[in-house]
Symmetry: C2
Subunit: 225 residues, 2 copies
Amino acid sequence: MVKSTRSGTRERLRRDVVVNGAIALADAEGLDAVTIRRLAQDHGVTPMALYWHFREKNDLLDAMAERLLSDIDLPTPGTEPWDDRLRAVLTAVVAAMRPHPLVAGLTLTRVLRSDAGLAVADRVLGLLAAAGFDTEHASQTANFLLFSTVMLVTSEPGRHAPNGTEEREALIREKRAMLGALSPARYPHVISAAVALTECRDEERYFGTGVDFLVAGVRGVRPTV
Amino acid sequence: MVKSTRSGTRERLRRDVVVNGAIALADAEGLDAVTIRRLAQDHGVTPMALYWHFREKNDLLDAMAERLLSDIDLPTPGTEPWDDRLRAVLTAVVAAMRPHPLVAGLTLTRVLRSDAGLAVADRVLGLLAAAGFDTEHASQTANFLLFSTVMLVTSEPGRHAPNGTEEREALIREKRAMLGALSPARYPHVISAAVALTECRDEERYFGTGVDFLVAGVRGVRPTV
DNA sequence: ACCTGAACACCGTTCAAGT
DNA sequence: ACCTGAACACCGTTCAAGT
């Protein structure tokens, strides 16, 4: 995690360049396209060259996740009510993940293994403690809360395919057609929701009410004080 | 989806056996262990034999997801308030997923492509409509709700590794040690929550309040009527 | 410190062929 | 209808070697 390279500029730059390339590649073509060999090729280097910078592929994925997590711009701790502060934190998480819906899922298993992720987790745990949660309850809630927030981004309707491409349009059309062809007797609600289920019309509203949902959920399971 | 095999017993049996084996294998060793070649070997058959039953590997994953989704035992539609009925549906989803925490994630992208998943989605959409949600809002909420419910299972602390194994114990110990070694000045809340963050002490309580959380979230974003 | 070359043990998948 | 054999184009990774 904490890198202690002495004259690090060359190494860290190189490493960062690879990580940037990997994220950009995943954004454009999905995580499956992120391959040691493909990245090597993109950088005009032999696949084995990457193994000097990363012990194994998983280390590269860790670095990608940490990059996204460190993009989270935590609000300065204020004195507002706990739920307003929680909302601000979750909004910051969403903002960092939104540009990378195809990569965000990597953070799910890595929050507690990166400095930036730990900072977010600590903040959320602190807020929940302030709201009256005991340690056990706060841990479970914080864990689920962070997962859900990231998933708000990864599960946005129509965002499974790379952004803005024709491929995405085709996928949405196809899915919509499939839903439209279902039996109206069996799945009436699905059919009338076919359009909304396949594409998000108003992203700001989607993420806004998503965060509202999560804050309300916390309020709902908050111990009565 | 809808299979129309004439004298199907032999084929469907064979196919089901493979799917069962794949789920059991994933439960025991994780999804990465589910490989065409490994399954073929387990069934004493050539890898290419599987390609008669599944057009490609993804079809096998689809079938695994559909199996889990069809394990959902939807409650008979009642006349209770919408939130009680929603709670019952979500509880049924959790119950179906809990035995397969390492497989449940497969359902996330496949709900709307399986009969069983469509039935659940239709039910949830109907409940949200009854609660006063318009189509757009209901779709986004239902989508997120199902994702979150599945994730309640896949993200349970300590359940990332196969169940009950020594490997799992080792992973938990390791993670706990890592968290305990952090700087108390920077991550005070994480450190004091190290135990709770790495293992779920009371699963019933965890899933119970998880479902409560989600129902409360829906209540929180429900349009005022 | 940083990279290459050759090799290994895996993948999913195609295609022609068998029964 | 169901399965095999041989082959292809990919993976991640190791190890010894170069500069």
